[in-house]
Amino acid sequence: MTEPGRRKRKNPILRTRVPLLPPSGRSRVALGLTAAAALGRFELQVCGDCGTVQYPPREACHRCLSLALTWQPQSGAGELISETVLHHSHDVYFRDHLPWHLGMVRLDAGPTVIAHLLPASGAAPCRVRIVARLDKAGQAALVAVPDAHNISERAPDMANDTHMRELICDPRQRKVLVSDGKSPVGQALAKALVSAGAEIVWVGCAEPWKRPPGLDELNRLDSVTLVPLDVTSSDSVKSLGAELGAKVDILVNTAEVHRPYGIAARYGVEAARSEMDVNYLGLLRLAQEFGPVMRSRGADGQSSATAWVNILSVYALSNFPTHGTYSASKAAAYSLAQCLRAEMQPAGVRVMNVFPGPIDDEWNQELPPPKLTAQALARAVVKGLQEGVEDLFPGEVAQEWLARWRENPKVLERELAMSR
């Protein structure tokens, strides 16, 4: 195993590897596993009638034929009962990564699963834990990890394994662009990415002459470089894309405009236009200039292009009327991010959408706590990258909104309308 921590200079004579994906075909029922893994969760089908936990996913309970199946979170605890190391594969993606470790794990919950195996898990028989991640194809992949692992230790271990690094988007030794460093969120993210071992963090700034607070301090960090970037200007985005596009491994879009109020409390469309220009069109401009070249670098060695992060808002799920136009711009950005995800998928570049609740900043001044600090949001994003999740709902408010939205989006809409 080569050490992923040391980034080797690329040999310009060799052809850049074409991004390949593991087999991505799944039945519809199996996508339930992917839906949970996108949130970093390991869930299996549980029978509502007899309680049987089953895998692989089915249309009915294999024990009692009940059709009342729901996806329920699993601890993943189990025993590694057999293992193998593949030295041959029928698939070109895996051929690029041989030898490949696999384990067969009997879950304490009942079923036997076949999983990617972190070699450090130990030799069969031994206790392991199954976690669900997304593979390069964006589909759920079960991974057997050492039993003693707790959540905070898990990510670094996977990052140390060249194969498992394929399943996550660890920023370590990667080059990152944070699109806007003016906001507390942008600054906190840049610092968190530096702490997580990013090799270079480029931080965009639209109007450096305004000397936004905090930017000088950021600029003093060794691995941080300020770059001119105004996401409302096609020329600015194009110019930076030409300069950095082929080097960016992770792009974190923090640029946003947030103005409170809905429709009746404000006259004219200027504030809304500004929100759309940054929150929606800004993303579109970045995606057009940086997307294609990142897509071509999906398999560019140890530190290939790996992720695109959009800081959205939980208001993207359902309009929060007191922040009505902002919600609308975030909903538009969310929809566009889904398009971007589909377009980045063939290269295995993950699009991670982050849906924070209210952030503790000047534009959420009137909202009661709990509010998410910029630092907590940044930590959650870095952890999300380390675990390779696709949708991130950091903080208590976001988690609660998510649960309400998943249970019944119409009820949530009414609740939000009444909360004005």
Binding site: A30, P56, H88, I114
Partner: protein, 392 residues
């Protein structure tokens, strides 16, 4: 409730085993191999095409056709038709269906055919869509195909029962010795233990010679009444007993046994013979571990005792326990569903005295077993049949 004893096969017999020579790759379709097998059946039996009124077909590579389309493709007018997509258990299950059809009078002469082509990319293309579970929960994990599945089973079996690589090596080497006497085997060179042990790693602990080689080819036989076989002057075999079992032991965390363990008592009771009466065994042998399980579950030794059994016996044609006398799939090749037929045609030849160069001296009664369809983590179909010469 009274226990219903299964009826035997008093009237129907099996005859005319044919093999369409295997090739590693073919540019022909499966239809070509099926047609060639049917021609060989007619030639071997002296029957006219119109005399065949039943067909039982197994093939993985006939798509988009099924057995139905084949009737028009090959101009067969039938009154009984079955399609058995059961891989390694296909021959035994087909035999059971055909025997009953003839016994009941639903068909007079049933051709049972296992045939597959193998283009250069056929095998890979089959793997990813072999089953819904394979596509959802196996193929995305390394895409190792059956090599990976059997690597898990082999690693577990070795640990649980103390099997050594040398034990599996002896199985493979003995079969290779048999194959050197079988004209259709694709592997024509003797295999030495050192070569076996040091072969290229495929999926640990499996190395190259543990893994069956996919190829193209066909096997077939006819089922008809004893009277008809006698009229035609054909050597025929009687079927003393059969069994089939699907998805046996679903609660086992990993497969260490198959449905034979549930059915062997009834199988031998129906046949009215004991293990000592069995002159040879044809197992389904795409990987040696599954042969070991068949030896155990069919009752030739206890669970976990196959390694010792293999050490104690010589397994060649002239040995104390002749096994896979044509060389088995590991040395002949795995012609798709025909792989499930390989042991059956060889067993029919043995008990009808037509095995020629692979003849087991004085073989009167033989056991054929089948195993097929790794749907997810284990093979689902198990079957067995005991065949005997007409007077046995």
């Amino acid at each position: 409730m009274t226990h219903l004893r299964r009826a035997g096969y008093a009237n129907a017999v099996v005859a005319v085993p044919v093999t369409v020579p295997y090739v590693r790759h073919s540019i022909r379709g499966a239809h070509w191999f099926i047609a060639r097998a049917l021609r060989d059946l007619l030639e071997g039996s002296g029957l006219d095409k119109a005399d065949i009124d039943g067909l039982c077909l197994s093939s993985f590579t006939l798509a988009p056709d099924t057995a139905v389309g084949l009737t028009q493709h090959l101009g067969l007018s039938l009154r009984w038709l079955d399609h058995i997509p059961m891989g390694g258990a296909a021959a035994i299950v087909s035999l059971r269906r055909a025997l009953r059809a003839v016994e009941s009078g639903d068909a007079a002469i049933v051709a049972c055919v296992g045939a597959d082509t193998n283009h250069v990319d056929t095998f890979r293309a089959t793997l990813g869509n072999f089953s819904q579970f394979a596509r959802d929960a196996v193929y995305p994990y390394g895409s190792g195909g059956p090599n990976a599945s059997f690597a898990f089973l082999t690693a577990y079996y070795m640990r649980a029962f103390g099997a050594r690589r040398e034990d599996f090596g002896k199985l493979c080497i003995s079969q290779r010795e048999n194959a050197l006497r079988y004209p259709h085997a694709l592997f024509r060179k003797p295999l030495a233990m050192e070569e076996y042990l040091n072969a290229r790693l495929i999926a640990e602990p499996l190395r190259l010679f543990d893994c069956v080689m996919p190829c193209a080819g066909a096997e077939a036989f006819l089922v008809m009444s004893r009277a008809r076989a006698q009229d035609l002057g054909l050597p025929f075999a009687r079927v003393l007993a059969t069994s089939e079992r699907h998805n046996s032991f679903p609660e086992d965390p990993i497969q260490t046994r198959g449905g034979w363990a549930l059915d062997r008592e009834e199988l031998f009771a129906q046949a009215g013979v004991s293990h000592q009466d069995i002159d040879f065994l044809q197992t389904y042998d795409d990987y040696p571990v599954i042969s070991a399980m068949q030896i155990e579950d069919l009752g030739f030794c206890g669970k976990g005792e196959a390694p010792e059994f293999i050490r104690e016996h010589s397994l060649t044609i002239d040995g104390t326990f002749p096994m896979n006398t044509s060389g088995g799939q590991l040395s002949v090749g795995q012609a798709g569903a025909a792989g499930g037929y390989l042991g059956m045609t060889e067993a029919i030849r043995q008990v009808t005295g037509t095995a020629q160069s692979t003849t087991v001296p004085d073989a009167r009664i033989g056991l054929v077993s089948g195993f097929g369809m790794i749907n997810y983590d284990r093979g689902l179909c198990c079957g067995a049949a005991i065949l005997a010469e007409p007077s046995a």
